[in-house]
Symmetry: C2
Subunit: 170 residues, 2 copies
Amino acid sequence: MTNEIKIKQFKKGTEILRAGEVSKYCFKVLKGCLKSFTIDKSGKENIIQFAPEDWWISDLDSFINEKPSELYISALEDTEVAYINKVDYDNFKNLSSADLFEEVKILTKNIVWQNKRLILLLGSTGEERYINFIQTYPKLYERLPLKMIASYIGVTPEHLSSIRKQLSRK
Amino acid sequence: MTNEIKIKQFKKGTEILRAGEVSKYCFKVLKGCLKSFTIDKSGKENIIQFAPEDWWISDLDSFINEKPSELYISALEDTEVAYINKVDYDNFKNLSSADLFEEVKILTKNIVWQNKRLILLLGSTGEERYINFIQTYPKLYERLPLKMIASYIGVTPEHLSSIRKQLSRK
DNA sequence: CGAGCGCTTGATTGAGTTCAAAAATCGTGG
DNA sequence: CCACGATTTTTGAACTCAATCAAGCGCTCG
């Protein structure tokens, strides 16, 4: 197996992937934080994922099947990533069982994580999702501006502001 | 590798997993249809996933980590499944690279699928999600009662009914 | 110091829920 | 094969939670 992992830096604010382009890379964040998001019909940005240290991020569908991406990816902070390209990824099938098993574990974690988000989006209020966010990602809560968290949990910044106010009355 | 896949039938309406129990199995549907769902604070049922033919379903977090399930699973139709238990699943690490690679592909598909749901839930209206559902799962649309589809796309049955009415005026 | 960004506040609007009840459909036993 | 009860779907009115709109405050950084 050849080690084809490469390293790259992005300055805060860098646009790394634009919807419509094919996602050529899969990133693992070493330092800093990236986000993936859509922009819907009304022009609103919806954050699908934050990727702080040790998380990986990509538009998997676009990356694997080489189709236009639905997601944008950009840097929320100065960020350092390890990344892999499609050709190297396809060589996965030549990896050892141990490495593939590792990959299975990483993917499984992602499924569990996304599933929890689906459960929250379908069955809880904005307030509940906000509380859950703080408890689940206390570090991110300190690092990210309120409007990013609002977008992630699916409410407007104004509404999150009022949620906060209510919660502080206790 | 031992083939530890077993077959089982469920009658329509059977409760297969209850939230709070540990999910002992991972099911692959051969015939019929299962659903996984939560019941939120207000008692409302929120459908997380439908599993018609060839889909697999489980509370993965509960199954893998042997913790109490957040999800319920039940049979929407008379259903036949293949299932695997935890011990056999753990033997995955002894599988061939080819088999593990296959597993990676299955998991990747699940991630892509869940990701599309997240995008829809965060960035579209009930009407858009309904149209998307019909286009993505025309077969399911024929088989399932409206209230199930409503729960899946995150609106009330009453509202879905009115969405339908609006769409039919064309 | 001023421009811009992030956060808050309050007034207004609107998409979707709730509630209640009628109409349609389904399924099961006689 | 029909009848009747149960479930599902439709309808409409009242309501509610969150979005939108608009304005103002406080920081920071250029």
